[in-house]
Amino acid sequence: MKAFTTINSTAVPLPIEDVDTDQIIPARFLKATTRDGFGDNLFRDWRFDREDQPKAEFVLNNPTYGGEILVAGKNFGCGSSREHAAWAIGDFGFRVVVSSFFADIFRGNALNNGILPVIVSPDFLDKIFQAIEANPQATFTVSLEEQYFQIDATGSKTAFEIGPYKKKCLLNGYDDIDYLLSQAAEIEAYEKV
């Protein structure tokens, strides 16, 4: 897993609530047996019409917006457990997803792939959307080490939560599996009782 450092970037606004993983990556693209290339089909049916022509009105097709941060409405990533959703978001180039609320499985999948889900208050989320609307080139700073998200133009900052274990994993690029493998003796001991 790629280690996470401080991110300073513009952001892409997606002010839609309850974005489900079927929208993030539709089921017909889940037939691959590797983890690569899912970014091409990120939000496929919102990005392209049925003739595979880009839909100009969708934000990812608008050259004004870009960056490593995706800002979305509440309950982002609900629905299926497909990790392909996190792979698609990462492969497209996002390292941070900001929302006021994430679905549990998506949040875990993101963390397991070096993507940081940042939970902010609904009010702060509105502020971020407003900042992007006022200036699509507005930049934001995400510090994992110090656990804050900042709107650079105003200096307005908010703290976010992340557990100490997951924080360490992200900062160092460790996977859960490395840790679990190191606990094999305890797992075997548990099995005996």
């Binding site: 609530e17 309850d18 079927d22 889940l30 049925r50 309950n75 990790e83 549990d104 999948n109 599996i177």
Partner: protein, 468 residues
């Protein structure tokens, strides 16, 4: 202080607690399928690891498989390759596979209970969010991502934070024509798609206790649709009767020992929950959905809300209505429909098929409707044939197909065309779920069967005389 059912099972499976509330949770049984496992096996190969406990993982092919001509090679190349990868991986790593053509093949969440792999008190996971289904037996069961599939294959454990506990009680008696699918659609419409996030739900109350095992599975199946990690129901005599005598259930002295333990699995009177909700069965009518998530549900005779519910965004609401082409404040009763799908891990078991058959018998599917019934497993298909249900369905104009996930997610050929309305017994009405541009209306098998005959959304209670 007393413990909840959930705590009793969870605590027994904690290998170790580490910093910041993370725990190593031991997983008793792991189910895998072709879509979310190939990258996990690749990970094992990359690290040169074996499957740690191969006997505790069981595979089947379900998401991608065709539901006709299953004896022939799969036509679609990518699907064929993915199913082949599962076969190869299971052979290489020594995992039991119930692949296409095997008498035990079927949707993971149908075969687990059917084979007795699902048992009270167990922890179970699968790379599929509807793993919550197995909670109906008083098990802790939840969906995981592919990285976690790899972790379970490698160590039989997961790192987890313990979720909060919620209890949802439904008391009273259901009206005729109202079934367990209506209960869960009703609950989700009240709590919303995010209402259960962060929680594990226990379903309780007299209306839940009086349900059969299959009906309980339908309830637990959709826990994830309100964001909950899982849902469970305390095991009771109904559970024990269902579990006894199945392929993998304990026998003899081991059965007695297990049974004694299972009888201790209930929430103590003085245990507390982080959240509680109570509903009355009498308030529930046959349910349908009008929007693009399972929380956008209503009674079949009700009107689509005039505006977004409190706390929900109007833009998201309008986007959903636009996609579905339904009017805010309008009725759906009488809405013409094009497809009916009876199947999926929510409603593809014998009881579902019997319910549908009872309503369909002697009638004909409306001429403009294409109706499909897809049994959840080979065993369900065989049983249905033994009972002659296939002939009832086919005489009425339903296609009776072979086992798989099918039009629940449209990964195979069973898709709904753009713009068409499909009344579906599955669990998700997301945009494009059943095919690009498809419009899904979730409902019970009874409501779906009635819609197939009428060719429109209909209140199944008006057809109820045929049921008795």
């Amino acid at each position: 202080m007393g413990k909840t059912l959930f705590d009793k099972i969870w605590d027994r499976h904690v290998v170790k607690s580490i910093e910041g509330g993370q725990q190593i949770l031991y997983i008793d049984r792991h189910l895998i399928h072709e879509v979310t496992s190939p990258q996990a096996f690749d990970g094992l190969r990359r690290r040169d690891l074996p499957v740690f406990r191969p006997k505790q993982t069981i595979g089947t092919a379900d998401h991608n498989v065709p539901t006709i001509d299953q004896h022939l090679p799969i036509k679609e190349e990518l699907s064929r390759k993915q199913v082949q990868a599962l076969t190869d991986n299971c052979a290489e790593f020594g995992v039991e596979l119930y692949g296409l053509g095997h008498k035990y093949q079927g949707i993971v969440h149908v075969i687990g209970p059917e084979l007795g792999i699902t048992q009270p008190g167990r922890t179970m996971v699968c790379g599929d969010s509807h793993t919550s289904t197995h909670g109906a037996f008083g098990a802790i069961a939840f969906g995981i991502g592919t990285s976690q599939v790899e972790q379970v294959l490698a160590t039989q454990c997961l790192l987890q934070r313990k979720p909060k506990r919620m209890r949802i009680s439904v008391d009273g008696e259901l009206a005729p024509g109202v079934v367990s699918k209506d209960i869960i659609l009703y609950i989700i419409s009240k709590l919303g798609v995010g209402g259960g996030t962060g929680y594990f739900v226990e379903y309780a109350g007299s209306a839940i206790r009086s349900l059969s095992m299959e009906a309980r599975m339908t309830i637990c199946n959709m826990s994830i649709e309100m964001g909950a990690r899982g849902g469970l129901i305390a095991p009771d005599q109904t559970t024990f009767d269902y579990v006894e005598g199945r392929e993998f259930t304990p026998k003899g002295a081991e059965w007695d020992e297990k049974l004694a333990y299972w009888k201790s699995l209930y929430t103590d009177d003085d245990a507390t929950f982080d959240a509680e909700f109570n509903f009355r069965a009498e308030d529930i009518e046959p349910m349908i959905t009008y929007g693009t998530n399972p929380g956008m549900g209503m009674g079949v005779t009700e009107k689509v809300p005039a505006k977004a519910k409190e706390g929900e965004s109007e833009a998201t609401f309008q986007k959903a209505l636009g996609y579905m082409d339904v009017q805010a404040g309008g009725a759906l009763l009488g809405q013409s429909i094009d497809y009916v799908f009876i199947g999926s891990c929510t409603n593809s078991r014998m009881e579902d098929l019997r319910l549908a058959a009872g309503l369909i018998a002697g009638k004909k599917v409306a001429p403009h409707v294409r109706a499909m019934i897809v049994p959840g497993s080979q065993q369900v298909a065989i049983q249905a044939k033994e009972e002659g249900l296939d002939r009832v369905f086919e005489a009425a104009g339903f296609e009776f197909r072979q086992a798989g996930c099918s039009a629940c997610l449209g990964m195979n050929e069973d898709k709904v065309p753009a713009g068409k309305y499909c009344v579906s017994t599955s669990n998700r009405n997301f945009e494009g779920r059943q095919g690009q541009g498809a419009r899904t209306i979730l409902a019970s098998p009874l409501t779906a069967a009635a819609a197939a005959i009428a060719g429109e959304i209909i209140d199944v209670r008006t057809q109820i005389e045929v049921l008795v």
